[in-house]
Symmetry: C2
Subunit: 340 residues, 2 copies
């Protein structure tokens, strides 16, 4: 019993030239599209997450209130629900699945919103991490359609340092011979566990670990228990090729890498008309606030709002830090209530 819908993109040609035939975009919606079709919020998923992992920010009385808004969570290509290495038939299956850009993802989402729902304006696009990357893309690709954006703990372009961090994650996963260059029959368990351990140091901040929030707040019984239960437990169920597809999307994320902006990053940032709340986590190790500050400096209608938190990248999700969720929700309410 799927808790989501599928939008058939048909023959979907990617930026890189490959065509995914019978390409699927999985999504879940909340609330009802009103008669004017102007109560729309789009809320893309993050690295390895699926729509269910986004739902912590949706709820009655919250900013993303289904009683008021029609909220659509589109699943990223490669995340195992939308077309992905794990669910695409031959010949584009497994490690032959083509490279997908954030631009491709947002183009697919735009087709969903316009062709399926007949939407002409979007009240808000918001997202965490790679969801923020897609949010920035929405703003740059459809500046006349998107009224507000709220990217949190993410960037409009993968920074060089962030790229290097991901190189480490990828190298750890693929160092496992069981990965077999993507043609595994049994999952590369050791590589997935190694990747999880690499990620563990990046996901939360030095202060998070110093304050032992893994034990005191998240309730794990020891640091090793946190590494095994939380981190290895998180990545082990996921498909390695899917993870690498999304990792490529992340590393190559850049709102200007398309025919609209021809690589002119400042021009692409400058083209975002939407009223923007850009919310980096103060202690995020791979999306540091300095990167957001630079981006905001080139955006005509953006405000920098750091989330003052020791939760590192997890200041922004997935609902792990209640204080930060409350802050985020309050800011989203403020943004939604304001004139765009």
């Amino acid at each position: 019993m799927a808790d989501h819908e599928i939008f058939d993109l048909g023959d979907f040609t990617l930026q890189g030239g490959a065509t995914l035939r019978d390409c699927k975009l999985a999504y879940k919606s909340f609330g009802k599209l009103n008669a004017k079709r102007d109560n729309v919020i789009v809320y893309p998923t993050w690295y390895s997450g699926q729509h269910v992992d986004n739902e912590w920010l949706v709820g009655k009385g919250m900013a993303l209130d289904p009683d008021k808004y029609f909220i659509v969570i589109p699943n990223m290509l490669g995340n195992g629900l939308s077309s992905s290495p794990s669910n695409t038939p031959e010949p584009y299956n497994a490690s032959r699945f083509p490279n997908v850009t954030a631009y491709d993802n947002v183009r697919a989402q735009h087709k969903l919103m316009t062709e399926k729902f007949g939407v002409k304006t979007i009240k808000l696009v918001t997202g965490w991490s790679m969801g923020a990357l897609q949010t920035f893309h929405w703003g740059a690709m459809f500046p006349d359609m998107v009224e507000r954006i709220a990217p949190f703990c993410g960037s409009a372009k993968c920074s060089r340092h962030n790229f290097v961090f991901l190189e480490g994650v990828k190298a750890a996963l693929t160092a496992d011979a069981a990965f077999k260059e993507g043609w595994y029959e049994k999952k590369p368990e050791r590589g997935l566990r190694a990747m999880a351990r690499v990620y563990a140091g990046w996901g939360f901040s030095q202060s998070f670990y110093r304050q032992e929030l893994d034990l005191n707040t998240l309730g794990y019984s020891s640091l090793e228990d946190f590494l095994v239960s939380f981190w290895e437990g998180f990545f082990l169920p996921k498909d390695a090729n899917n993870l690498l597809t999304m990792l490529w999307t992340w590393q190559n994320g850049d709102i200007s890498a398309n025919e609209l902006y021809g690589g002119d990053f400042k021009k692409a940032l400058g083209a975002i008309k939407a009223k923007a709340y850009v919310m980096p986590g103060r202690t995020d190790l791979y999306f540091p606030p300095e990167d957001s500050e630079i981006e905001v400096g080139h955006m005509p209608n953006a405000t920098l709002i750091p989330i003052e938190s020791v939760w590192g990248h997890f200041a922004g999700g997935p609902g792990t830090s209640p204080v930060d969720v409350a802050f985020l929700d309050e800011k989203l309410k403020e943004l939604l209530a304001s004139d765009a």
Copy 2:
């Protein structure tokens, strides 16, 4: 033609209970021990480094001036020159090499300085990174002998976050099946390269990569060239078991984990009589200044002097950032010139 000397430690029993028979401590000295034997500087090595990798801080006219001081660089156990998995005969060879603590290392170095050189006081102990860990140990283990310490970009105890970062490094190396749990005949090349890529994101700061100092200052031709030439090139020649021995030493570093202090970290810090300049790198991702600040708060005679640098952990070494070397050298001169 070895450019170093060997001190024979004989049967050297480690904290963990194992005895390394015919245990070797490799060291290199600069300058001459004076008649009073009071012009001594000890300068331990860092993770995977050897004495030659420390020499950038030694030179005529510099703080560590061989014309004035007798400078001894002892090689860490496990670094391939002192007793290590790679050079110890059966049965304690390869992955059966025992766990070595920083306490063991400094006890061995103390034997060298007292038994070989008859030294009773040490003017300064200084070191980068794991060299700083050993520097703190010198201060805590021999408070009446050590007049000054200058640990830079390091800590007196491995923080929980630092421990997690190293878990990622270890997992990447050992995910390679060619590692064979330490019983490899050919080196685990893929694991060493993976480890190098994981390290790359940690070693330098976000700002370093943002400013493209890998290209502009270090002269690499691309980011990928930096990852291959600098990072993979650095780790590939090293022995995997040696790297894991030193990694264990690092992860278990704690100046209070011994019979002197019984795990009372504050007591151990408080026992350091030496005049201390504690110098973290402002943007060091695994030894953040906050950790040093906490340590200094418990030390009776210590000053916190952050190195204002975007070079991350490499603010402190190994001579990579000339501006930071000049700053460090100036501070060491100031410390050496001051009353202890």
